[in-house]
Amino acid sequence: MSEETKPLKITKIVIDRDLCIGAASCVVIAPGTFQMDEENKAYLVDIDGHDAETIKMAAESCPTKAIFLYDEDGNQVYP
């Protein structure tokens, strides 16, 4: 955390449905933000469902890197 004094803020989440295989680890970590739909794909429930750190952990847990996070300046934070 050298120069990152500004707390992380996630303003956009994109889930790539082609990459998503329904492992559901994002739901395990951040169920208030991610849930599984009828096709067993993750979808966004509420971007404010968890703090940014938890949402980032959820995205990083995805075994196919299907969750893309962007900060308030529109920069891709993950992956």
């Binding site: 492992a23 559901a24 395990v28 096709e39 952990m57 990083e60 847990s61 075994p63 890197k65």
Partner: protein
């Protein structure tokens, strides 16, 4: 002797998630992960894609060096733990290095079962579990090669799909009477086999390898019938097992024993991930669960336990695999066919969709869905509710009886 607050044996999804959860949750103690792999955390789920050449192998990495440094998690790579002295709280690593811990998490995952076969040590007898395995498969899968695949489970399917992708002719050799006998009933087993055959994979059921023929390179595998299947690569996917040796009296039937809290019988020791044989209150018995979401969830659970939370781990997870587009499998709950369990197969839409239920003691403990992810919620509810289906088991196979009617 080195002394650490938290020692984690295993650098996979469970171990790494536990370390991360502890640190992000405010844990200040030093955290050391000992991993027998040479790499930071990577996604085993992406290995088949890397082997097929669909992504570069580096894409499989989920964490980089900077992440470990930032989280103050030390990763000791390429090191193995020889034994643990629980009374003295000391783990002994290769080279007889001792590390004493305040708290220990064992999350060693599984290792591919050794194939007891003459010729099995040949360099072209391949596995698909590690990063190195994927790289090797990627290099060796070139047109004009022929592969014999031994086994009929998840890894055998991945080998077959990789062969199809790379134009390599594959013959799958399965000991069981139908495809993936240890997990699937006949109906889904036949459907998965048909999906493989439609892509040009030859499937031999009830067949057993007697020898790998080696003359410099591999020239074929000979079956117990005497027939030789020509090939120059062999892919082995006959299951995984838990490395028990270093962990003394935690040895269970399939994994390392833990209670419903993922707590081992020794003070300050937890077990998580694919190696944990824990009291699963979702299905009502002790078992090992080997899937990605479970490893993440159990790692997270123990990470919170390391911060002082005391709660049972109660969660239904599943895993899915797309054999090929148009043939998807989703496993929920207990995926193995236990000897004492019963199986009920529900055929929907003229066989396009099949849902298989496994019951034990009058309750549903597992379900497998072929092309039927829309049934996931209903099937999961049958398992998690623990509702009794005693006396009505045959209704599980009747597509006219709604699943929410139990």
């Amino acid at each position: 002797m080195r002394e650490v607050e938290i020692l984690i044996i295993g650098g996979g999804a469970a171990g790494t998630t536990a370390a991360e959860t502890y640190r992000v949750g405010g844990g200040q103690g030093d955290v050391v992960i000992v991993s027998d792999e040479a790499h930071q955390l990577y996604s085993r789920v992406l290995l088949p894609h890397a082997a097929k050449g669909k992504i570069s192998p580096e894409k499989a990495f989920l964490k980089n060096e900077a992440w470990y440094a930032e989280k103050r998690i030390e990763l000791m790579r390429g090191r193995s733990v020889l034994r643990v002295d629980y009374k003295r709280s000391i783990a002994t690593l290769d080279g007889d290095e001792e590390i004493s811990y305040k708290k220990l998490l064992i999350a060693v995952g599984g290792k591919p079962r050794a194939w007891q076969m003459s010729g099995a040590d040949h360099a072209d007898v391949l596995q698909l579990q590690t990063y190195e395995d994927a790289i090797k498969l990627r290099e060796r899968l070139v047109p004009d090669m022929r592969m014999a695949i031994v086994g009929s489970g998840f890894i055998a399917i991945e080998f077959a799909a990789a062969c199809v992708e790379k134009g390599v002719k594959a013959t799958l050799i399965n000991r069981g009477p139908h495809f993936w006998t240890s997990a699937l009933g006949e109906k889904i087993g036949h459907a998965v086999q048909a999906a493989l055959e439609a892509k040009g994979v030859e499937v031999r059921n009830g067949a057993k390898v007697a020898a790998v023929e080696v003359e410099g390179g591999i020239s074929g595998v000979t079956l117990s019938t005497g027939e030789t299947v020509p090939c120059n690569l062999v892919g082995v996917g006959i299951g995984i097992e838990t490395p028990m040796e270093p962990f003394g009296d935690l040895r269970g039937t399939q994994g390392l024993l833990a209670d419903a809290y993922l707590k081992a019988s020794h003070e300050n020791v937890w077990v998580a991930g694919d190696c944990a044989e824990y009291d699963d209150e979702v299905v009502g018995f002790r078992r090992v669960v080997g899937n990605w979401a479970n490893a993440i969830a159990q790692g997270r659970h123990v990470g919170q336990a390391l911060l002082g939370r005391h709660e049972k781990f109660v969660l239904l997870t599943g895993y899915s695999t797309a054999v090929f587009p148009g043939a998807s499998l989703l496993f929920l709950g207990e995926s193995r066919m236990l000897p004492e369990a019963q199986r009920y197969e529900r055929v929907l839409e003229d066989g396009k969709k099949i849902v298989e239920f496994r019951t034990l003691g009058g309750r549903v403990i597992g379900a497998t869905l072929l092309n039927a992810v829309d049934q996931r919620a209903a099937a999961a509810a049958l398992i998690t509710s623990g509702v009794s289906v005693a006396g009505r088991e045959s209704d599980l196979a009747d597509p006219h009886v709604p699943l929410d009617g139990f």
